[in-house]
């Protein structure tokens, strides 16, 4: 772990800058309050007050940590104020959508690799769709499905499936095509069937590409779910915590929800990375 020291230094510097910024940005409010009360305050009086405000412009790191801790451990898990409750709602929609999206993506990729007409018809659109801000249609999907009577988990899962679908298609097609002509020729000299070629050569050699695109896909899924939670009027989920926090000026709540979302994203990507390392190690692709 020779990177540990540099990483810790960078994190420390970021935290330090954050404290400085919090002092600077929150000081205005303290000065205004003092001026209204007709008091004269010195810098030494101001600084402690900037770090413990109820609704700071920028909450200090320890306030965010406290908000996060109270959200995770300070409530009952079923409480509406618990971040575990909201995080679970977001996570379940993300996982459902991600599972469906990536499975459909892998299936379509297999079709594209084996069917020329499908390749030529679908592939340009799949690539072009990556340049389109698909996230913009998330609110529409939610509201339309709501008007059709579909509510709860499913609309969010559809958005997250849609967002993870295209990265997986593009990555998996690349992976299934990664064996070179020599290897394919070798299997032909063995007179291997199409299924054997797929199972013994194409699928194994697509694994590194698959995992790379799964990591992109799961991050996109989570973003999709969070954005999908915005238009339903802040009912439940991390996205609704962000929205209700911004309605009522609860900055600590916004930051706590943001860090909860970041932790969720990091652990999802981390879990896929772990499965990737285990798989590739067993396949002998990773030394």
């Amino acid at each position: 772990m020779r990177n540990l020291l540099p990483i810790l230094t960078v994190l420390l510097v970021i935290t330090g800058l954050w404290y400085l910024a919090a002092m600077r940005m929150n000081a205005t409010w303290v000065y205004d309050q003092a001026a209204r009360a007709g008091q004269v305050v010195t810098l030494a009086d101001v600084l402690p007050q900037t770090l413990n405000q109820e609704r700071p412009v920028l909450p200090a790191p320890h306030q965010v940590a406290k908000g996060l801790w109270e959200g995770v451990a300070g409530q009952k898990v079923t409480s509406k104020r618990s971040l575990v409750y909201h995080g679970w709602i977001t996570l379940s929609a993300t996982l459902l959508g991600f599972a469906f999206g990536s499975a459909a993506g892998i299936l379509l990729a297999v079709g594209i690799v084996y069917n020329r007409a499908m390749d030529m018809s679908v592939m340009p659109w799949a690539i072009a769709s990556q340049t389109i801000p698909i996230l913009a249609i998330a609110p529409m999907i939610i509201v339309v499905l709501n008007s059709m009577g579909v509510t709860g988990l499913v609309p969010k899962a559809i958005i997250s499936a849609y967002l993870s679908f295209f990265p997986v298609v593009v990555g998996m097609v690349k992976g299934l095509r990664s064996p070179d002509a020599m290897q394919l020729d070798l299997l032909r000299t063995y007179s291997a069937s199409g299924l054997a070629t797929f199972g013994k050569l194409r699928l194994p050699s697509s694994m590194p590409y698959l995992f790379a695109s799964l990591k992109v896909g799961v991050a996109a899924s989570l973003v999709g779910t969070i954005v999908g939670e915005l238009p339903t009027g802040a009912v439940a989920g991390l996205g609704s915590r962000l929205l209700s926090g911004s309605y009522y000026g609860q900055t600590v709540q916004i930051w706590a929800a943001l860090f909860a979302a970041a932790l969720l994203a990091a652990s999802l990507v981390g879990i896929i990375g772990m499965i990737e390392r285990m798989t590739l190690k067993r396949m002998g692709l990773l030394r």
Binding site: A117, P133, V227, A262, V269
Partner: protein
Amino acid sequence: MTARQKLLPGILGFMFAATLVAVNWLDAAHPALPLLKVLNLLSLWGTAWYMNVALANAGHPAARFVVPAVFGLTLLLLWERAVGLFGISPVILPAPSVIWVQIVTSLPTLWADFVQTFVKGALSGYAIGCGAAVAVAVLIDRSPFLQRGLLPVGNFVAALPIVGIAPIMVMWFGFDWHSKAAVVVIMVFFPVLVNMVAGLKATDHMQRDLMATYGASYWQTLLKLRLPAAMPFLFNGLKIATTLALIGAIVAEFFGSPIVGMGFRITAEIGRLGLPMIWAEITVAALAGSAFYGVVALIEKRVTFWHPSQRH
């Protein structure tokens, strides 16, 4: 071509024509009508797909453009037919023709939204964010310690749901485009930074040794060797950032905006169930996103003409 393969398009075409006539002639309450409608759509799909298979297997060089175009048109046609046949309410799914009429009749609104969200919010944020990322990459390039510390952090941040920062930026910078640009700056910064740092490392020892034997200074080496060598990596990051910029600008408007902008229009029309207008905005967003990406890819082609991936 076997006899069966020759027969197939004939059967499909006949089925399409027959069901089309039947759907128009039969009584609206006829029990077989839903089945006929489904058959009509399926045979339309089958005919178009058969055409695409034939085109793809013909191996003509133009097929590369024709086949996807036919596929896209088929989808649009199916969409239009399905909405018409089953009488789907425009509140759920408007037909493409309705969306097109909406686009043509509300061009001034769409243009104003485009300028607010794309030109003011996304483009300015993109320029600032990418510029800052390149500058920081060149600065930390001189310190391996900083690189080892910043790169994992940057990689980590690049995977986070950064759009969540939008409500905070709206609070800090107000409802106008400045807050949207701020979100875009943060969203594009890390992918570009990570790619640029990797790009600056892309020269090998032989090349740097050559510059050293020429007695080149740090800045000369940077300008004449390392920056040009970093360009393929930089453009990789810049292309990823184009989509992120548009997403950031639109999503940030969901958290508060003046009464103009693509994200604002989408949320406002949802409240009025003005689905055609939402689809019109999405069409504009899709076109703007593809065009933005295309322009960056074109510049990449001009700048990195020497790179193997650009030779054809």
